[in-house]
């Protein structure tokens, strides 16, 4: 499986990372080196093996479905690059 420039462009967009056109060939080459390394996994017989979901056998704890946190909008917004009137501000999303 070889990654071409078109695929590299698509992956960069899916990852929401802007990659300049002139950097795409190098990126595709890097992907190919890493994926070539990963290809080794095809040698392993995984017939009948369940994919691991949890490394230690544990049952997720349950708790009451109640509010345990909140009422701190200033703290939540304190690190925002742009916060106005108690909200996160972003560029216009809908026309």
């Amino acid at each position: 499986m070889s990654i071409d420039i078109e695929t590299a462009r698509k992956v960069a967009h899916l990852a929401r990372i802007k990659v300049e056109e002139d950097r795409l060939p190098e990126l595709a080459e890097n992907f190919n080196a890493i994926l070539g390394f990963i290809e080794q996994l095809n040698e392993v017989d995984v017939e009948g093996v369940e994919p691991m979901t949890s490394v230690t056998p544990m049952r997720l704890k349950r708790r009451e479905d109640v509010v345990t946190d909140g009422n701190m909008p200033e703290k939540v917004l304190s690190n925002a690059p742009d916060a106005r009137e108690g909200f996160f501000a972003v560029p216009k999303v809908v026309e």
Binding site: F31, V44, V55, K61
Partner: protein, 493 residues
């Protein structure tokens, strides 16, 4: 007392309890060492005022009696831990200016035990790297040096390793996703333990690969690792994968008796082209354990070869998901937008400016292996191989093996910049002996065990049964005692 900063946790604790030493004196000694150690690039955010206040409070607590073991001990904290009111950037530009409103559970546990925070420590960006060369702060440098060649302290906990090895602090926190505590510990001649997955809460620790990440201590001795680990771990309702198990007194388990313990030597770790020095270190380690009355047994972990490729599917996949939160909306860096730029451009520009090359690469690899059509071929297959890797360990433990001895790294520390033009996979090979342990969720410890021909430290790794950190530390303590590693780097910084 001279050279207070060189003390171990255990010795400082005993001296403070006896009244021979105060935390204020100890903290001042460390702060002045840090001031003169800028060339190491280890500390990246210093908190001297906070440290002095905490030291004073610790001294009061010790005077009142019944203080915890860690009370008054000055530590460095890896930049990956969120610390309330103190910059926490995970070594990344994208978290520039981020000042958490909360404290990570592990660092809070330490504070509850009365520790002193000297500052935050350098690391590879988002803990992705094995040389501390991907940090926005610049390189951390190994205090060990040959001629004029500057060496890597390893990564990702490179600042932690450098700071502890150079005696800038008594100990430091680290985190380990594929070897990020154990490899830098080995490169700098210190001890580092990654506990069983679930021992330390991950809450408030910037996430890289959530099914693999674990925090642990980096210290000057195995005893110190035992003392500090106990203070760091414990159940936390805020991390759903945190284990609800009692935390034993690990230090009390350092009995010095390992007679009859069964130690496995996995044949798959004897790799082609392994340097003779590593081979010799490993067999010396086995001899030490035999001399201590342990039984050394050849074992097989047949899927070892596939651990790194499985890791380089699973870790980037989880990273691509975890790092999706850095979008320029809620915290950290936001790119300056051009005329007509919408929200998509904001995301794409912010992430391109905020993430370094290696992080971008891994996020994109993760995105690819999770994308429609490849999920089964890559991600699910890697999770199946992971299950087989864990089963290899389960099988040898079922045969009665108590711990497994391996080299910690395939080489001693390499020069900064030497891997710059290598293909990224070459850097990944640094973690070949450590990454299996994360995939299987096991505890692993690196202990300094010798010097190579150039005079650089080399470490051995011991891998334990799940939740048996106490037993593992006891075996490691025996290796430490018999190896008698006392070498220290010559001060040049």
């Amino acid at each position: 007392m001279a050279d207070l900063n060189k003390l171990t946790i255990a010795d400082a604790r005993d001296a403070m309890r006896k009244g021979d030493l105060t935390s204020a004196e100890l903290t001042d000694a460390c702060l002045s060492e840090i001031e003169g150690a800028g060339a190491l690039g280890a500390f990246v955010h210093n908190t001297p005022d906070l440290a002095r206040d905490q030291a004073k409070a610790a001294d009061d607590r010790i005077k009142a009696g019944d203080a915890p073991d860690m009370c008054g001990i000055p530590l460095g904290i890896k930049d990956l831990f969120c610390t309330k009111g103190v910059a926490s950037q995970a070594g990344s530009r994208i978290l520039e200016g981020f000042i958490p409103e909360y404290e990570s559970t592990v660092s809070q546990n330490l504070l509850d035990n009365g520790t002193v925070m000297l500052g935050k420590l350098n690391m590879d960006e988002f803990a992705m790297g094995s040389s501390n060369e991907t940090s926005v702060y610049g390189n951390a440098v190994n205090p060990w040096k040959i001629d004029d060649r500057q060496l890597t302290p390893g990564g990702s906990s490179g600042g932690s390793a450098s700071a502890v090895a150079a005696d800038l602090c008594l100990a430091a926190t680290g985190t380990d996703t594929g070897g990020s505590i154990r490899q830098p510990a080995a490169f700098t001649g210190i001890t580092g333990i990654k506990p069983t997955y679930g021992r330390c809460s991950r809450w408030g620790v910037v996430a890289f690969a959530s099914s693999l990440d674990q925090a642990g201590p980096m210290t000057k001795s195995v005893r110190d690792a035992a003392i500090m680990l106990e203070a760091m771990c414990g159940h936390d309702a805020k991390d759903s994968t945190s284990a609800d198990l009692p935390v034993p007194n690990f230090e009390a388990m350092l009995t010095g008796d390992i007679k009859g313990k069964k130690i496995g030597l996995p044949k798959e770790y004897r790799m082609d082209g392994m340097p003779d020095e590593i081979e010799a270190l490993w067999s010396n380690g086995a001899d030490m354990l035999r001399d201590a009355g342990a039984e050394v047994i050849d074992i097989s972990l047949p899927h070892t070869k596939y651990a790194l490729p499985a890791y380089y599917v699973i870790a980037p996949a989880e990273a691509s998901s975890n790092l999706a939160r850095y979008d320029g909306v809620r915290y950290g860096h936001r790119a300056k937008l051009g005329q007509g730029d919408g929200i998509t451009e904001m995301y794409e520009k912010t992430r391109a400016e905020g993430f370094g090359d290696e992080v971008q690469r891994r996020v994109m690899v993760g995105t690819y292996v999770l994308s429609a059509g490849f999920y089964d071929a890559y991600y699910n297959r890697a999770r199946k191989v992971r299950a087989l890797i864990k089963k290899d360990f389960d099988d040898v433990f079922a045969q009665g093996i108590d711990a497994i001895l391996t080299p910690a790294t395939p080489s001693a520390a390499f020069g900064l910049g030497e891997m710059e033009n290598a293909d990224p996979v070459k850097m990944y090979l640094n973690d070949v002996f450590t990454v299996t342990v994360n995939l299987a969720g096991l505890p692993g410890i690196a202990v300094p065990a010798g010097l190579d021909a150039q005079g650089l430290p080399l470490g051995l790794q011991l891998i334990g049964r799940p939740w048996e950190e106490g037993d593992l530390l006891n075996i490691a303590h025996e290796v430490e005692a018999r190896a008698g590693f006392v070498a220290k780097p010559q001060k040049w910084w």
